[in-house]
C-alpha cells in the first residue's frame, strides 16, 4: 500500500466514523459510508480493485448486519473492522476470514477510544458555556465543529498506522497499552452520565419529594426492564393522575368557597 493510499483510507475511515459531521452527519457518514458494504466499495476504488473491495465489504457486512449501537454501547468496533480489516486483507491478498479475525483484537482499542473521545469532549461543554457567558454566540455555536478534532485524531491516526505499517505493528501497539488504562476510561465513561442527569434533575425537580417520580422511572427500566416507549406511556398516565388529583382538590376548594 502506498503512503497516499493509506492516507486516503484513513481519511475516509474518519469521515465514515460515527461522530464525523462532514458527510451530513450520521446520515451520509456512519450509516452510509460506515456500512462495510459501502466501505468495501470506497476501499476498492482507493486500492484499484473494486470487485474484491465489494466482496470483502459484503462479507464483513454479513457479520455485522444486525448491529444496533444505541447510545454509546458498542459490541464491536465496526469502523476499525471495515477500514483496517478490509484494506489489510486486500493488501495481503488474503481471505475475508482474515479481515474478520483482524477486527477482533482491534475491537478493544476501538471501544475504549469511543469512551476516551466522549470523556475528552466534556471539556468542549465547558468551553461552549464559557463562550456563551462571554456573549460569543457564533463561537459557542461552532463548538461542535472544533470538538470534531478529537474524533479525527482517534480514527485517522490508528487507521493510517495500521494500513501503512501493517497489522503486526498496530497489534503490538494495542498490546503495549496497559489494560487498566483502557478499562479505567471505560469505567469512568460509564459513570460520567450521572453528572449530566444530576444537572437535569436539579432543573426539573421542584420539590425533593418529587424524587419519587424519578425513582419510578429508574425502576421501570432497571428492575422491570421495560421498553422506553412503554415506560413513557406509564409516565403520561402518572402525570395525568397527578394533574387530575390536584385539579380536583382545587375545584373542591373553589366549591367550598362558593358555598
Amino acid at each position: 500500500m502506498t503512503l497516499f493510499q493509506a492516507l486516503l483510507i484513513a481519511l475516509f475511515g474518519y469521515l465514515s466514523s460515527n461522530y464525523s459531521p462532514w458527510c451530513f452527519g450520521q446520515l451520509g457518514g456512519w450509516y452510509t459510508m460506515g456500512r462495510p458494504l459501502v466501505s468495501g466499495l470506497i476501499i476498492g476504488i482507493i486500492l484499484g480493485d473494486v470487485r474484491t473491495g465489494i466482496l470483502m465489504g459484503a462479507a464483513v457486512q454479513t457479520l455485522y448486519i444486525g448491529l444496533v449501537t444505541p447510545g454509546l454501547s458498542m459490541p464491536a468496533d465496526l469502523n476499525f473492522a471495515a477500514y483496517m480489516g478490509i484494506p489489510l486483507a486486500m493488501a495481503a491478498g488474503a481471505s475475508t476470514e482474515y479481515a474478520l479475525s483482524l477486527s477482533v483484537p482491534l475491537s478493544f482499542l476501538g471501544v475504549s477510544l469511543v469512551y476516551v473521545v466522549a470523556s475528552v469532549n466534556v471539556c468542549w461543554v465547558r468551553k461552549q458555556e464559557q463562550w456563551i457567558e462571554q456573549g460569543k454566540i457564533k463561537k459557542a455555536a461552532n463548538a461542535p465543529v472544533y470538538a470534531s478534532i478529537s474524533q479525527f485524531i482517534a480514527r485517522f491516526v490508528p487507521i493510517f498506522l495500521a494500513c501503512y505499517f501493517g497489522q503486526d505493528f498496530i497489534i503490538s501497539v494495542v498490546e503495549a497499552i496497559p489494560a487498566w488504562l483502557g478499562d479505567t476510561f471505560v469505567i469512568f465513561g460509564k459513570m460520567l452520565p450521572a453528572v449530566g442527569f444530576a444537572m437535569l434533575l436539579r432543573f426539573v425537580l421542584n420539590k425533593n419529594v418529587e424524587l419519587a417520580y424519578f425513582f419510578v422511572g429508574f425502576i421501570m427500566i432497571a428492575v422491570l426492564k421495560m421498553p422506553i416507549v412503554a415506560a413513557t406511556m406509564i409516565a403520561c398516565f402518572l402525570a395525568y393522575l397527578d394533574i387530575r388529583y390536584t385539579a380536583k382538590k382545587t375545584n373542591e376548594l373553589e366549591v367550598e368557597v362558593d358555598e
Binding site: 452527519g25 446520515l27 457486512q61 454509546l72 469532549n121 461543554v125 459557542a140 460509564k190 444530576a198 427500566i221
Partner: protein, 274 residues
C-alpha cells in the same frame, strides 16, 4: 397561515436542520451527550430570534442541558423546540420549563423508536437487499442500491419530520395559550420529564462491582448480592450522590468529575469496579 410571531424564514429553518444533521454527534460527550449541538443549533438562529445579546445568551444556555436521542429520527424534537422558541421570542409568555421538559420527555421514546424501527429494521432490510445484489460477482449494484435507497428515504424523511415538528411546536403553544391549559401542560411535561430522567439514568449510568468475596469454599459475588437488593442500586446512588453534592453541598461540577475519575481509577486498580 399568517403568523405575526414568525421570525424564521424557510432558509433559517434549513440552516438549523442542516446544522443539527451534521453536528449532532460532533461534540458527543459522556456528560451532556448531544447538548452542545442542540445549543449550537439555537446559536445559529439566535440573532434571528432576539436582538438583545442577553436574550441570545439565555436562549443558548437553556439548551445546554443533557440531551440525547437518535439524531436523525429525533430531528423532529429539534423542530418542536425551535417552534416553541420562536413563539417565545415573538412575545408569547412560554415558560422555559415547558421547552426543556418537552425535550426531556420526548428524547427517550424517540431514541427507542429510532433505534428499533430505523437502525434495527430499515437498515438491515436495505443491507440484505444490497448484499443479495452483490452476489458472487461483487456487483456494484449492491452498494449503490443501499446508498440510493437509504439516502432517498432518509433525506426527505428527516427534513419533513423537522418541518412537521416545527409546525407542531407553534400549534402546541397556540393551543395551550388559547385554551388556558398552559399550567396543566407545564406540570404534565414536568412530571413526564422527571420520570424519563429516571428511565434514562437507568439506561446510561453503569457501575459494577467486580470484586468477589472468597472464604474457603464459599465465593460470593458482591454485584449479585446488590442486584438481589435492587438492580441498578449503584448507578442510582451515584446519580443521587452527584445531585446531592451539587444541589446541597454546592460542589462545582469539575470537583464531581475529579471525584468520579478517582473512583474509577482506584476502583479499577484494586479490582473493586469492573
Amino acid at each position: 397561515m399568517s403568523n405575526p410571531l414568525k421570525k424564521l424564514t424557510k432558509r433559517d429553518l434549513f440552516h438549523a436542520y442542516a446544522y443539527w444533521m451534521m453536528f449532532a454527534l460532533a461534540a458527543q460527550n459522556m456528560e451532556r451527550m448531544e447538548a452542545p449541538a442542540f445549543a449550537g443549533m439555537m446559536g445559529k438562529v439566535a440573532d434571528k430570534l432576539y436582538d438583545d445579546p442577553e436574550e441570545q445568551k439565555a436562549l443558548m444556555l437553556r439548551h445546554t442541558q443533557f440531551y440525547n436521542s437518535q439524531p436523525m429520527v429525533g430531528v423532529m424534537i429539534n423542530g418542536i423546540a425551535l417552534g416553541m422558541e420562536e413563539q417565545r421570542a415573538g412575545g408569547e409568555n412560554v415558560p422555559d420549563e415547558l421547552i426543556s421538559s418537552t425535550k426531556t420527555a420526548l428524547m427517550g421514546p424517540f431514541a427507542g423508536v429510532g433505534d428499533s424501527l430505523f437502525i434495527g429494521t430499515l437498515i438491515p432490510i436495505l443491507l440484505s437487499i444490497g448484499l443479495g445484489l452483490v452476489g458472487e460477482q461483487g456487483s456494484l449494484a449492491g452498494p449503490l442500491f443501499y446508498i440510493v435507497a437509504w439516502l432517498g428515504i432518509m433525506l426527505p424523511f428527516t427534513w419533513l419530520t423537522f418541518r412537521f415538528g416545527y409546525r407542531s411546536g407553534i400549534t402546541a403553544i397556540h393551543t395551550l395559550f388559547e385554551s388556558g391549559m398552559k399550567d396543566v401542560a407545564v406540570r404534565f411535561a414536568n412530571i413526564v420529564g422527571l420520570i424519563i430522567v429516571g428511565c434514562i439514568s437507568a439506561q446510561y449510568v453503569s457501575v459494577k462491582i467486580g470484586w468477589t468475596y472468597v472464604s474457603g469454599e464459599m465465593t460470593m459475588s458482591i454485584q449479585s448480592v446488590l442486584d438481589g437488593i435492587l438492580p441498578g442500586l449503584l448507578p442510582l446512588l451515584l446519580t443521587l450522590g452527584a445531585w446531592a453534592l451539587m444541589e446541597k453541598k454546592h460542589w462545582k461540577m469539575g470537583r464531581v468529575f475529579v471525584l468520579i475519575f478517582a473512583m474509577a481509577l482506584i476502583g479499577r486498580f484494586f479490582g473493586i469496579l469492573a
